[in-house]
Amino acid sequence: MKKQNQRAWLFVLPVLLLVAFNALIPMMTVVNYSVQETFGDNLFFWEGLGWFEQILRSERFHAALGRQLFFTVMILIIEVPLGVAIALAMPRQGFWVPFCLITMALPMLIPWNVVGAMWNIFTLPDIGLLGYFMNHTLGISYDMTQDPVAAWVTIIVMDVWHWTSLVVLLAYAGLVSIPNAYYQAAEIDGASNWAVFRFIQLPKMKTVLTIAVLLRFMDSFNIYTEPFVLTGGGPGNSTTLLSIDLVKIALGQFDLGPAAAMSLIYFAITLLASWLFYTLMTMNDNKA
């Protein structure tokens, strides 16, 4: 065999260094914390897997994880079909295309903490446009600082408002890539609108929708800023999602060990779910 020049690996070195400093080394300190106990003064005691056991058995963690799963499942159930429906309704050519695309992209351009603040003010019962309208015009009691149901409705609607566009744009990209001949052939084959959607549009959108669901899963599972600014996890603990709880433990209580263990469990769940989902979605692709 011809001897190969291996020096090209040197080109990878800068990336390796970059990743080491911004991901691997910080990650390792988290791993360090997760197996040790400290009382300050840089004194550490070996703790083994104790923190992991404690977190996995803690009811507080279970509750936060449950809320997190509920949130993610809810927004996926709403955003994916809604996004596909909007993409189907959008014009494929003509004057309105850029208008629709830009309008769709706008919510995604707003920083997360601004979105949280906007919705916070929007829903205030005394001065917020929505809050005032609901309470004083429609006479429906709506106060997300008092009522857990109102708080949940608000964070879900806020996320739908902020992120459905992502699904729309990806689904739209999938739709416009379908050659016209497919629609013409379906028309000649006498296919109904539903059959066109089921057998042409949906299969052609599958790849982009897989990406859309994956992105929305990861983002929503790790969401922090928007609900933190909007509800701060309240009222009570009713909207305390995993990330909010994690920050409370790490920076509020300064329990670095349990917080580190929780981070790693959190990370493992996200990774595992993403991997599972992606594998399931793509495993039929090469099957005969």
Partner: protein, 362 residues
């Protein structure tokens, strides 16, 4: 099954067409007889796909009517015209099996599963895809995908016409030949009217009984492959069909006699009408013979190409390029020769259109 009649058809993609140039189809009057094998031949952009889409109902013509057996279908959508169309790129339903793909047009029309099974099996057998019926269609090779597209077009037994829009574009050359003869065979078995659109003369001439040649949105000639080859109605057809195409040489007409340079040429027969205009003589390279010093048009050989079965000689006579196809011995480049045109195949064209009539001597 029906006779298809296009009457006074005009189509423009612009909302407010002004001159003839704005029309993709200028004026089409055509009748497709039931059960015929037709080819629609013309260069890219001549309007043949437009014409096809008008017949299938994907496009509504700006003017004129489409009649299926005297029933006006101009306003009917494709699904109600009972036609089938096969597109340039294979259209298959990725998530379905080959069987379900072939069954799709029948199931959409609510046919019994028994009939569906029977038809799908028959078509699969004809196309030689019986062993793939349970395969996911997405995993097929391009030529098999195109076969499935064709199969979906042929699976309904009562279609008025099956149209093929350059269906072999994406197929490998060695499979093209196979699919082409398959199509011819299918036409003989299913006996549906078929219209085959192509810009490839070989495809058109091998498939069709009647070839419709189009140029710039107009039908230039309709005829059998032999007609098109031997008596092109227009110099365009002469150029477009044949390899190399017909020699078209500018000439002068004086008193009903054609002169090429200072040589008088014997035409196939008298002129249909004496007219003014640009006169040209058309002769196929197959009917030009070369001798060392006989009577005829003096010329100099410029190039000889050996294309296998025969040699193509390019000669210059009166500053015009003349091709001749020779079997066997050919002169060398630079030789001075004389060209002889076979009289019965020497035609006169006025402003592009055939003006001489047959009936002259040998």
């Amino acid at each position: 099954m029906a006779q298809i009649k296009l009457s006074n058809l005009r189509h423009s993609y612009r909302p407010d067409p002004r001159g003839d140039d704005d029309y993709a189809l200028k004026k089409i009057d055509l009748t497709w007889e039931d059960g015929g094998a037709y080819a629609l031949l013309g260069p890219s952009g001549c309007g043949k796909s437009t014409l096809l889409n008008i017949i299938s109902g994907l496009l509504v013509p700006s003017e004129g009517r489409i009649l299926f057996d005297d029933q006006d279908v101009t306003a009917l959508p494709p699904a109600r015209r009972n036609i089938a169309q096969v597109f340039q790129f294979p259209v298959i339903y990725d998530t379905m099996t080959v069987y379900d793909n072939l069954a799709f047009p029948l199931r959409n029309r609510g046919r019994d599963e028994d009939i569906v099974r029977q038809r799908v099996m028959a078509i699969a057998e004809m196309l030689e895809v019986s062993d793939m019926l349970n395969t996911r269609a997405a995993n097929l090779s391009p030529d098999n995908k195109q076969k499935i597209s064709m199969g979906r077009g042929l699976v309904r037994e009562d279609v008025n016409v099956v149209m093929f829009d350059e269906p072999l574009t994406v197929i490998d050359p060695h499979l093209k030949w196979k699919l082409r003869s398959k199509l011819k065979e299918l036409h003989q078995r299913v006996k549906a009217t078929m219209i085959y659109v192509t810009h490839d003369q070989t495809e058109a001439l091998t498939f069709a009984d009647q070839v419709v040649v189009m140029q710039d949105g107009e039908v230039v000639q309709i005829g059998t492959p032999v007609d098109l080859f031997e008596r092109p109605a227009h110099t365009f057809v002469g150029h477009f069909i044949g390899s190399p195409g017909m020699n078209v040489l500018p000439c002068d007409v004086r008193g009903g006699v054609a002169f090429f340079g200072d040589k008088e040429l014997d035409l196939e027969g008298p002129l249909a009408k004496a007219g003014e205009g640009r006169a040209e003589v058309g002769i196929r390279p197959e009917f030009v013979s070369i001798s060392g010093n006989g009577p005829g048009v003096p010329a100099t050989v410029r190039k000889v190409s050996d294309v296998g079965r025969h040699k193509v000689v390019e000669a210059i006579a009166f500053d015009q390029r003349v091709h001749a196809i020779l079997e066997g011995e050919a002169p060398n480049a630079g030789d001075a020769v004389t060209l002889e045109f076979k009289r019965s195949q020497t035609r006169l064209y006025m402003d592009g259109w055939l003006a001489s009539t047959p009936g002259g001597g040998a």
